[in-house]
């Protein structure tokens, strides 16, 4: 994707390092980046809402996905980029561990953990973006919703796929079963990220990966960054498994509402197909994810029980913050985006 625009000193220093053409200047640029990152972590009021730090780590993480336009792929494993990620991740994970509510831990087990995950999701009192979209959202807000979602949905399933080689046995089989369906079971036109791209095109939005990244607030980047952090650290494989379970459990019912919202606004099946597909798909995935992935993982690796529940709760918590920010803007009659975007209402 195009390199996201800097939002502050840390993301600016990262872009300076990545775009530097003078190798003699690199050590000084790297040293500056690390100093600024240390200061940014020290001074941040809330890393989950910190535009600069979330943009910086999002940019660094993107090197692990589609890469950054015009930059050598070598940057993905560059020690200074990895060091920046490690600095931000340390503070990011600490903030999550401090703030994400933890339920009483169930016993390790397929039934016990699945029941606890479903209970946790049912008790979640997060904001209902789906109800707003179904009943009240304007066409412009519906476009904003897609822009916000596009940061993750254009690479849908990818952050959880990192966990496949890190799991064994039943949990691996379950994750592959879910992911194969996410990727369309060999049919490109059924791949979920492709269905989302189709929805974007049909409403007149640009489906280029990263096109709208500069428009979304830090908390939207944080929802994606958290998945990448959980997925790319073997140590956090329990958390990414729990994250996927909570994500799937909270998906099918809201997706019906999203589809209803777009139908209310006059859009046809070409637009709502993505949401309609998720109503059915995620009713399957939530059972596999809660039972055979998360539940079985706690049987095979009981030490991961706490992280499974942490990852699930973190999903609900951070997605809840993002939803709160979205609805706060909309109910105040404002845009949820950082910058005016080329939202093109239907002709």
């Amino acid at each position: 994707m195009k390199t996201p625009a800097a939002r502050g000193p840390v993301s600016s220093a990262l872009v300076d390092l990545l775009e530097n053409q003078n190798s003699a200047a690199e050590p000084a640029l790297a040293a500056s980046l690390h100093d600024l990152a240390d200061a940014g972590i020290r001074d941040t009021e809330d890393i989950l809402h910190d535009e600069d730090l979330q943009a910086a780590v999002f940019t660094a993480y993107e090197l692990r996905y589609s890469g950054l336009d015009g930059l050598a792929d070598d940057w993905e494993w560059h020690p200074d980029v990895l060091a920046l990620c490690a600095t931000i991740e340390l503070a990011f994970e600490r903030a999550l561990r401090d703030r994400v509510p933890m339920p009483a831990l169930p016993a390790p087990g397929v039934d016990s953990v699945a029941a606890a995950l479903f209970e946790m999701a049912a008790a979640d009192t997060g904001p209902s973006v789906s109800r707003f979209l179904a009943k009240k959202a304007t066409d412009e807000q519906a476009h904003e919703f897609l822009i916000q979602q596009s940061v993750y949905k254009l690479k849908e399933a990818d952050p959880h796929s990192w966990a496949i080689p890190r799991l064994r046995g039943r949990a691996k089989a379950a994750l592959v079963e879910i992911q194969a369906d996410e990727y369309g079971d060999g049919r490109l036109d059924r791949m979920h990220s492709e269905l989302f791209a189709q929805t974007m095109r049909e409403v007149g939005l640009d489906d280029t990966v990263g096109y709208y990244v500069d428009a979304v607030p830090a908390i939207t980047l944080a929802t994606s960054n958290m998945m990448t952090m959980f997925g790319t650290h073997r140590r956090l494989r329990g958390a990414i498994a729990g994250h996927l379970a909570a994500f799937e459990i909270t998906s099918s019912l809201p997706n019906r509402q999203y589809g209803n919202g777009f139908r209310r606004l006059g859009y046809d099946f070409q637009v709502t197909h993505y949401f309609d597909e998720h109503v059915e798909a995620d009713a399957v995935h939530e059972q596999i994810a809660a039972r055979d992935l998360a539940g079985a993982l706690t049987v095979d690796e009981p030490d991961l029980l706490e992280d499974v529940m942490f990852g699930a709760s973190a999903c609900l918590y951070v997605d809840g913050l993002a939803g709160t920010a979205l609805l706060a803007a909309w109910t105040a009659g404002e845009s949820s985006l950082r910058v005016a975007e080329p939202v093109s209402p239907r002709a």
Partner: protein, 96 residues
């Protein structure tokens, strides 16, 4: 399918279909199966593993749409213990 050690190949069709009764949720069906309408027409499955509604509330019947959660559908006795470590007892047998 991989032939077993004795060299007898088992056709995929002989692998039994599995149906998992998910507590408080749908029936998860895996394997080679057909779902038919009452008139005998095949309902095309859109995925390899499907979830069949058993709460009766799904708007996508015969498939599950997650509605069982919204209506508090229960397949198991109400638990008095917050934590369950034993396997679920087998459900009641259907009466013919």
């Amino acid at each position: 399918m991989t032939p077993p050690a004795d060299g007898v190949e088992i056709p995929a069709g002989d692998t039994p279909v599995s149906i998992t009764a998910c507590p408080d949720g749908p029936l998860l069906v895996r394997g080679s199966f057909e779902i038919l309408t009452p008139a005998g027409e095949v309902i095309p499955p859109r995925r390899k593993t499907v979830a069949l509604c058993r709460c009766g509330v799904s708007m996508l019947k015969p498939f599950c749409d997650g509605s069982h959660k919204a209506v508090g559908f229960k397949t198991e006795p109400v638990r008095t213990e917050p934590v369950r470590t034993e396997p679920e007892p087998p459900g009641p047998q259907p009466t013919p």
